[in-house]
């Protein structure tokens, strides 16, 4: 039986009294009484249809324990646990939440484990139904959302996380940094291994973990990505550094796997896509281009620690372009990311400094992308992003050769 060390004494006692359950749902975002009441009211009509004769246990944060909740029924039990809000792009908080969920779920012998970390209370019932069904009834080990996206939404995901994880791990998972997901017992067991339980600060995203283990994964069509929670509204530099840190550490950890993968395979997608309004106004990219140009003037010494001389020269050329014709070629962007990944691994300078120094180049990519797609329709935008992803896959041999035979750049 898994150890319930991550839960409070009261929660432990309650879980032991419950005994067993078919489904365990964690709602770390429901940290107030109102949110929790709304979420539970929404879950009640959904659960009997999802699990006709099953029992569901809902875990919610201690801070919402003052909620005027109705008495538990035999098929729905509520348990207050010490839980912090899960930040989608802060992997340690997500891993901590999954460890707690897995611990409780395995104790109860559940068939599916659902984390709804970023869901607003109103969308929880829909999110639960769509994510739980593939794991409960179709045998998948991991179900993650595939959010509808406008042109300028989820830019870090479109420009970095998705293409990089696709090239490395060979799976076309559109949103690898999922905070809302459904796990099977097989995947949950990974979070109960001794090395993971021994407070390892970062254990990788569930998506990359499942891909490396060869488990069955699917993505489920959802509406737009939820708005970031308050603690996620840090500046771009901090968010970018957090995402890159997790991506790069994951790549180091799973090097033996991704060095063998070639190309990428589609991941099963369930549900119908949500229609998207692609009418974006013209984007103002002046500030971003200016930041990039300032970076080319002041941060060249820092970039030179990681980037190859050819890449530096191309960046300097790009900085001379006027704003209205500003473009950052895909090849250049891919080389920058791969060089930073290698520099992070070799610790050429402090890792925190290295990741934050990438902000101006990322803003340059955003500016270039925004200018390219401002007059394009949805299909053309999707094709544009697909071209970027293929660029990452095509240049993977460059990453492989430098990873296996590291050299130092001393210009």
């Amino acid at each position: 039986m898994a150890a319930l060390e991550t839960t409070s004494a009261e929660a432990k006692e309650r879980i032991e009294r419950i005994g067993e359950a078919d489904l365990v749902v964690a709602l770390p975002s429901c940290h107030s009484a109102e949110k929790l009441e709304a979420a539970v009211a929404g879950l009640r009509p959904v659960l009997p249809g999802l699990l006709p004769d099953g029992k569901t246990v809902v875990l919610y944060p201690d801070s919402a324990s003052a909620a005027a909740l109705p008495d538990d029924e035999s098929w729905l039990q509520l348990v207050a646990c010490p839980m912090s809000p899960v930040e989608r792009y802060h992997e340690p908080s997500l891993a901590q939440g999954l460890r707690s969920l897995s611990t409780v779920g395995r104790t109860l012998g559940a068939r599916a484990f659902i984390m709804l970390g970023s869901e607003a209370a109103a969308t929880i019932p829909d999110g639960l139904r769509k994510l739980a069904e593939p794991v409960l009834n179709r045998g998948y080990d991991l179900a993650v959302p595939l959010y509808a996206r406008r042109k300028l939404d989820s830019l870090i995901n479109s420009g970095i996380a998705y293409p990089l994880t696709r090239a490395l791990y060979g799976a076309r998972l559109c949103y690898p940094m999922a905070a809302d997901l459904a796990l099977s017992p097989r995947l949950a067991d990974q979070y109960l291994q001794p090395s993971v339980l021994a407070s390892q600060p970062q254990s990788g995203w569930a998506t990359t973990r499942a891909t490396c283990l060869g488990l069955q994964i699917c993505q489920v069509q959802r509406e737009f990505a939820p708005a970031p929670i308050v603690s996620e509204q840090a500046d771009v530099s901090t968010s970018l550094a957090q995402v890159l840190s997790t991506l790069f550490l994951d790549a180091e950890r799973n090097a033996a796997f991704w060095q063998r993968t070639r190309g990428s395979q589609p991941v099963r997608t369930l549900g119908e896509p949500v229609p998207v309004d692609y009418q974006n106004p013209a984007a103002d990219v002046h500030n971003m281009v200016e930041t990039f140009q300032r970076g080319c003037r002041d941060l060249l010494d820092v970039w030179a620690a990681a980037l190859s001389p050819a890449t530096l020269i191309d960046l300097k050329k790009a900085a001379k372009l006027p704003t209205e014709r500003f473009r950052l070629a895909d090849d250049l962007w891919v080389h920058v990311l791969y060089d930073f990944l290698l520099g992070h691994r070799q610790r050429v300078i402090s890792r925190e400094h290295l990741l934050r120094a990438m902000t101006p180049i990322y803003l340059a990519w955003v500016a270039s992308y925004a200018l390219e797609v401002q007059d394009l329709e949805q299909r053309a935008v999707e094709d544009r992003l697909e071209k970027l992803c293929l660029g990452f896959e095509t240049l993977k041999p460059y990453l492989l050769s430098r990873w296996r035979w590291p050299d130092r750049f001393n210009p």
Binding site: R88, I156, E232, N280, D284, R294, R347, V348, H353, T359
Partner: protein, 233 residues
């Protein structure tokens, strides 16, 4: 009379030769000590270089986050820095032992004072070394942050931070060495205060717009449209 002059000259010459003859063994001992210490330093340096290269000392220092040490090491190699440090320490010790071989109270006292001064000297060297590493680290962090915030005076801010730390550690090192006394304290206070005042003026005058935008944002006014168009997360 000529005989007396000759006798006086012969006596003086004999005294000089006797004095030199008395000094000669000490001098020979000094030369031998220095030569032996050079030989020992070469052997130790060779062994140390081989053992540090064998355990990939340079790579391990980079892996432990001491990449700043590579920047101030000769040929960017902490191994070489360590080898040269040991090399010159051994030669210095050999020279001091050789000096102590002179049978003169003055030299013995000088050696004693030198040895008692050595810990302060080493502490000062370490202060300057680590001060430089910390100054570069902080300067780089400030520069990156300023560029990301699109501040026009990022370089100035970064230089200011770097020199603040260097001035501080240099003053601490001179204090350890007991050099300068009150003059160094006064000069440090004036210089440090001047740098801080210059930085405060640069930040205050240069970031008026940034502060007013930040205050507007806090008072709930709408953000610029351009910032709302892009959703990075």
């Amino acid at each position: 009379m000529l005989e007396k002059v000759q006798q006086a000259l012969n006596e003086s010459t004999a005294k000089i030769i006797t004095g030199f003859a008395n000094l000669l063994p000490g001098l020979v001992a000094l030369v031998v000590a220095v030569l032996l210490s050079v030989l020992l330093a070469i052997v130790l340096g060779f062994l140390l270089r081989r053992s540090l290269r064998g355990v990939d000392f340079d790579g391990k220092m980079a892996g432990w986050g001491w990449s700043g040490l590579s920047e101030i090491s000769p040929e960017r190699s902490p191994t070489l820095l360590a080898v040269r440090f040991v090399y010159w320490c051994v030669i210095l010790v050999g020279a001091l032992i050789g000096i102590a071989a002179f049978d003169a109270t003055l030299t013995q006292q000088m050696v004693l004072r030198l040895f008692s001064y050595l810990p302060n000297f080493l502490a000062a060297i370490l202060l300057i070394l680590f001060g430089n590493v910390i100054a570069r680290f902080l300067a780089r962090g400030v520069l990156i942050g300023a560029v990301n915030m699109n501040l026009s005076y990022g370089r100035l801010l970064s230089l200011g931070v770097k020199w603040l730390v260097i001035v501080l550690t240099t003053a601490m090192a001179l204090d350890h060495l007991g050099i300068g006394g009150k003059i160094v304290d006064l000069a440090f206070a004036i210089l440090f205060g001047g740098i801080v005042l210059a930085l405060a003026l640069a930040v205050g005058l240069g970031s008026k717009d940034l502060v007013s935008r930040s205050l507007e944002h806090q008072s709930g006014q709408r953000k610029e449209e351009s910032e709302e168009q892009f959703h990075h997360l």
